[in-house]
Amino acid sequence: MDFSAINPILLLASLMVAATPILLAAVGELVVERAGVLNLGVEGMMITGAVCGFIVAVGTNSPWLGFIGAAVGGALLSLLFGFLTQFLLSNQVATGLALTLFGLGLSALMGQGYIGIKAPSFPDWNIPLLGDIPVIGPIVFQHDPMVYVGLLIVAGTWAFLKYARAGLILRAVGENHEAAHALGYHVVRVRMLAIMFGGACAGLGGAYLSLVRVPQWTEGMTAGAGWIALAIVVFASWRPWRLLLGAYLFGGVTVLQLNLQAAGFAIPVEYLSMSPYLATIAVLVIMRTGRAPGSLGQSFHASR
């Protein structure tokens, strides 16, 4: 056992990176669910975003364009879900699951010919002044820009839901779509926009894996991250800052357990392996106060 082998600064720094893909996907899904829609297709949208982002980034040699491509790809795929559930009133659970299957297959098809290719590099930012602060600098201020984009999206989502009129409307639609409709709000339009936002965020999360975290394209590379994101939304009681906590906790314990293993820590590996899941669930359940949006998962049609 050799604790000196674990560098706490590097550990905390990699926590933020490890959490980012889940965080991005989860915050998108949070908005979707706050609008009253349950989209179980996060995994499919993530992997589609991963491959779209990779293709665009390799084609243009620009990771930034890659991320934009990923957001567009994820949003386009989510439009399919939106059309089926909001206009044809299909069952949201079944459609979401189908979207995941479709996304996995579609991404494998699109990714043919991109296996083994390297992505353009996406260098870390060393933020001047802030990045030079001892200890805190390397932990917080020396990451790639997408880490901060993820944080900005969380903060923006929080402010939007709490302070913006549009955010209030979105929540009203999610809480009681008939009442919102009676007040003259366009339920389906709000939900379609939320679904597209969710798709775009999931796409960004996937692209973070294929362009930064891994970074390369491999079939099925999200390997369940979308399902973790879905679970974190629920355990975070549909609140943005708790979601951030949940994602960082999950990412943090994941990295920590690998570090402990490598350092030869004398806890059985099985417990270490399950620890990210246990820790995240335990903390978020203990803190849990909220409840699900009232109209979550229900179809809406103006004629009813």
């Binding site: 082998a5 995941t100 494998a108 296996i115 491999t218 390997a223 399902w227 490598a262 059985p268 099985e270």
Partner: protein, 360 residues
């Protein structure tokens, strides 16, 4: 983390198989493959699929192949196999250790269908087992790794604590230690065969803790990319050549070559001569290939590694030749004694010098 998507994906494909197969009768010999990862993983499953394609190429219209990818190691695998057997498959290759009990169960229900289980040890009248002596390749990796490391720390990304993986760790360690007595192994159990993000994380953690050589027993190329990003870390291709990362960080590789075996076994089914067998082939018959050792490796190291490959090919050298002690210091093999296949097949202990415990 057995994910819902994989389960559903397996279900959807299996249903598709079943309906498609009933339609075209049963003239052709039908060969099924159950894969643990996606065929595009660039490693383990990719090489099994190359074997499947070789079967198609070799037999042309006489044989039809079907496969289901990303099948979880659990009850779901049993259902996929059952669907395949119901769909008219004559021969089914189940290509991951975790399918062992499921293969035996399904084989019991379909006595006329032949099963071939990779890397396992449970045989039945209609279940053969086959595996490759990857530990021969691991010996070469250890030999090179021990001489390439400057920090004397070698990181090892292990998957599951099964004999196959433990054998690899022991073999690599013994041969790294032989050329570099100061070498230390840091082992991380990923508990997955395929999860690029987790594999990348594991590689990054090992590099942060000082490893400058990364050996992997997981299937994706993510650790290679992590090593490349770190800049001065050596890796080896796993299961497939992973040549896109050559000449550096990937300095050599273990390549699984299943094609000759798959063709031979399919031929046996066609001829009606198939029998339950246990096959364990290594470098000599070509089931294990050693990928080109690149120029990033010093010439004398490369030469001695190649000499080692040759001595294993000729049968002169066995990677587990005594004296070797177990981790607790007790004698496993006395001087000159060679490990028997039974012990190797069920290996559940570390050799002397490795630290930490094997998860039970």
């Amino acid at each position: 983390m057995m994910t819902m998507n994989r389960i559903l994906a397996g279900a959807a494909v299996a249903l598709g198989l079943a309906t498609g197969a009933f339609a075209d009768g049963h003239e052709k010999t039908k060969v099924g493959f159950v894969y643990v990862g996606p065929v595009g993983d660039g490693g383990w499953t990719y090489e099994h699929d190359q074997g499947r394609l070789a079967v198609e190429e070799h037999f042309g219209d006489a044989v039809e192949t079907v496969y289901v990818e990303s099948v979880p190691e659990g009850p779901d695998a049993e259902r996929v196999m059952t669907q395949m057997a119901l769909g008219g498959a004559d021969l089914i290759f189940t290509t991951s250790f975790g399918y062992m009990d499921q293969t035996i169960n399904v084989a019991g229900k379909f006595p006329d269908v032949k099963f071939e289980h990779a890397t396992g040890f449970k045989q039945a009248d209609n279940v053969s087992v086959y595996s490759a002596r990857f530990y021969e390749g691991r010996a070469v990796q250890g030999h090179i790794a021990g001489q390439m490391t400057e920090s004397n720390i070698i990181g090892y990304i292990a998957s599951f604590p099964i004999p196959e993986v433990i054998r690899g760790i022991n073999s690599a360690y013994l041969h790294a230690k032989e050329v570099n007595p100061d070498v230390e192994f840091k082992i991380v159990w990923a508990y997955t065969w395929f999860d690029p993000a987790k594999e990348a994380e594991a590689a990054t953690v090992l590099i942060e803790q000082g490893a400058d050589v990364i050996l992997q027993h997981t299937d994706s190329t993510a650790p290679q990319a992590a090593a490349q990003a770190a800049g001065n870390v050596v890796t080896f291709g796993q299961a497939s050549d992973m040549a896109e990362f050559a000449p550096f960080p990937r300095v050599s590789s273990i390549i699984d070559n299943w094609a000759p075996y798959y063709i031979a076994r399919t031929q046996a089914v066609i001829d009606g001569t198939w029998e339950s067998t246990s096959t364990w082939d290594g470098i000599a018959p070509g089931m294990v290939g050693i990928g080109e050792i690149t120029d990033a490796v010093p010439a004398e190291v490369k030469a001695s590694a190649e000499a080692m490959v040759e001595s294993m090919r000729s049968g002169e050298y066995h990677p587990f030749t005594g004296p070797i002690n177990k981790q607790d210091g007790s004698v496993w093999l006395s001087d000159g004694e060679v490990a028997d296949d039974g012990t190797l097949a069920g290996m559940n202990f570390y050799v002397e010098g490795l630290t930490g415990d094997i998860p039970q």
